[in-house]
């Protein structure tokens, strides 16, 4: 289920004083089953971009093709929507049913799942996001911020999409839940061969989980590569409001202070190994 985006432009409120040229000349091919992180400054166009993937927004110019279907065609769009699940930024706005169960069941019900299948989908996705069954009868509006967010993610998972798009899914989650959701997303990609598109301001998450990172700036994709490629551009990233993970910065600085360290370190584990190597060498020399 690949995505092909050609010469896409998007303009909000065209021909008004508030016209915003939010996407400029986007050209991308995203392979089936890949894990892509999208990073970029506030207002750089990330949310606008991902809403093109299921036709919530139609390009002002250019073409979006998902699984050989054209998003501009109304009939094809309906098919695309079954395959592309989007967890929105502030997903608590997606909640509206009177109980958590009904909320998670909404998608599968709409897709015509049987009673049995709906139940199964609800329990499975509730477990995947790490919530207990005691919440099923509660009103989603009586939950804490983090709990609401998990319910919203569960609601999209329950529709079993092939492409899972998540816009800042971990904002507002506590560290354990954040790690759990990121691992769950990673597992879905590995085991169910889902394509993942993760929009995030969490550089540590992008560095640890993605295979490919798109960097957006003022409506354009300005960097596109593996995490090590992208995070080797520390200065450019800083200029456009981003950062490298703390351990990446640490190892970069250590290298400049004479440590022998590989070019780009992405995770704490890699940093640990690289630092120990340097200090062990020292012990031998002494």
């Amino acid at each position: 289920m690949s995505i092909k985006i050609t010469n896409v432009e998007y303009i909000y409120s065209p021909n008004t004083p508030f016209e915003v040229h939010a996407l400029k000349d986007i050209n991308l091919h995203i392979d089936s089953g890949s894990y892509v992180a999208v990073i970029g400054q506030t207002g750089s166009g990330k949310s606008t971009f991902i809403q093109h993937l299921n036709g919530l927004i139609l390009p002002t110019a250019g073409q979006v093709i998902v699984n050989n279907l054209d998003i501009k065609d109304k009939k094809q769009r309906r098919k695309i929507r079954k395959e592309v699940g989007i967890v929105f930024q502030y997903p608590e706005h997606q909640l509206f049913e009177e109980t958590v169960f009904k909320d998670i069941a909404f998608g599968p019900t709409n897709l015509g799942f049987s009673e049995e299948q709906i139940k199964e989908a609800v329990f499975k996705s509730l477990k995947a996001v790490g919530l207990g069954e005691e919440l099923l009868d509660k009103s989603p509006f009586d939950l804490s911020g983090g709990q609401m967010r998990r319910v919203a993610i569960a609601g999209v998972l329950a529709m079993e999409p092939k492409i899972l798009v998540l816009d800042e899914p971990t904002a507002g989650l506590d560290p354990r839940a954040r790690q759990a959701i990121l691992k769950m997303i990673y597992r879905l990609q590995r085991t169910r061969k889902l394509s993942i598109i993760l929009v995030t301001h969490d550089m540590i998450a992008a560095a640890s989980f993605a295979e490919r990172i798109l960097v957006m700036h003022q409506g354009r994709v300005v960097l596109d590569g593996s995490p090590s490629e992208v995070f080797s551009h520390a200065d450019e990233l800083r200029k456009i409001g981003l950062a490298v993970p703390p351990v990446t910065l640490l190892c970069h600085n250590l290298k400049q202070s004479g440590f022998d360290i590989p070019d780009v370190i992405l995770t704490a584990e890699q940093a640990l190994a690289a630092i120990l190597k340097n200090l062990e060498v020292k012990e031998h020399v002494n």
Partner: protein, 277 residues
């Protein structure tokens, strides 16, 4: 020692019969000018406690006072809200007007601030959060992070003594988060605003005067950041984690490196490791 600006005495609170104990026996004093960070698992009671501080909620038992005023007294509410402003977790809940500058003016207007003064406060607040050029835009059409800044400006314009930030940097990019945090630190230092900062990002707690850790409706740790971040095992039990560098320091210690305690930042770590080399 000055007297506390906020004091909670043995407060207990529940939303309904199913959640009778959302806050349990909390005793807490916050001094004027403190920078306090509250961390804790989802659902541990952080937002509920914060709402006690500006009388959005009142305790079932026990008392909360702001500058000596009991929040349970209806006649005190106006003054309490003027003293304690709150920037919520989700900025959409705070946006009330269709033009950014009107939105920011809403608070001071409600408090009867004279128009010329409002104008000055709104401009200043928008400049502080770097959104002045968006003053004529429609807030609901801004990006997530931009809305967050407008919400902060709206509280700044009320000029409260205490500002509660309930995950107000959650939707910002790394730079924006740094900038907003810097802005908050500046307000704290220059205008002596008392800051209560709720976050899930442990790095943001590093520079606080005090960190409160909440779990299941109680404050279970209340200490300086360095003293909190050396208790990594316990923190994990409460669904928390160390800042990335502090976590790495821990692992290096486990491998036998003699690192001093309290290494929380990249700079400190580079210094410490260079000394070992």
């Amino acid at each position: 020692m000055s007297s506390p600006i906020i004091r909670c005495q043995d407060i207990t609170f529940g939303y309904d019969k199913e959640n009778p104990q959302v806050l349990r026996n909390i005793d807490l004093e916050i001094l004027p000018g403190e920078f306090i960070c509250i961390v804790g698992a989802n659902g541990s009671g952080k937002s509920t406690l914060a709402k006690m501080f500006n009388a959005l909620l009142v305790p079932d038992t026990g008392t909360v006072t702001v500058n000596g005023l009991t929040t349970a007294e209806a006649s005190n509410i106006r003054e309490v809200r003027q003293k304690v402003g709150m920037v919520f977790q989700n900025p959409d809940n705070q946006i009330v007007a269709t033009i950014v500058e009107e939105d920011v003016a809403f608070g001071p207007e409600n408090l009867g601030v004279p128009p010329a003064e409002i104008r000055a406060r709104v401009d200043q607040a928008l400049k502080t959060v770097d959104m002045y050029e968006y003053r004529l835009h429609a807030p609901h059409l801004l990006s997530g992070g931009q809305k967050q800044r407008i919400a902060i400006a709206g509280i700044l314009a009320i000029a409260p003594d205490v500002i509660i930030f309930d995950e107000s940097t959650a939707m910002l990019d790394p730079n924006g988060r740094q900038e907003v945090l810097q802005t908050i630190k500046q307000l704290h230092q220059e205008q002596h605003i008392t800051v209560i900062f709720i976050t899930h990002h442990m790095e943001e707690a590093i520079d606080a005067d005090r960190v409160l850790v909440m779990s299941a409706g109680q404050i279970i740790m209340d200490d300086k950041p360095v003293n909190i971040f050396c208790r990594s095992q316990e923190l994990q039990k409460y669904h928390l984690a160390l800042p990335q560098i502090a976590g790495l320091a821990d692992k290096l210690r486990e491998c036998g490196l003699k690192l001093e305690p309290g290494i929380l930042t990249v700079e400190k770590m580079v210094d410490a490791l260079c000394q070992l080399k």
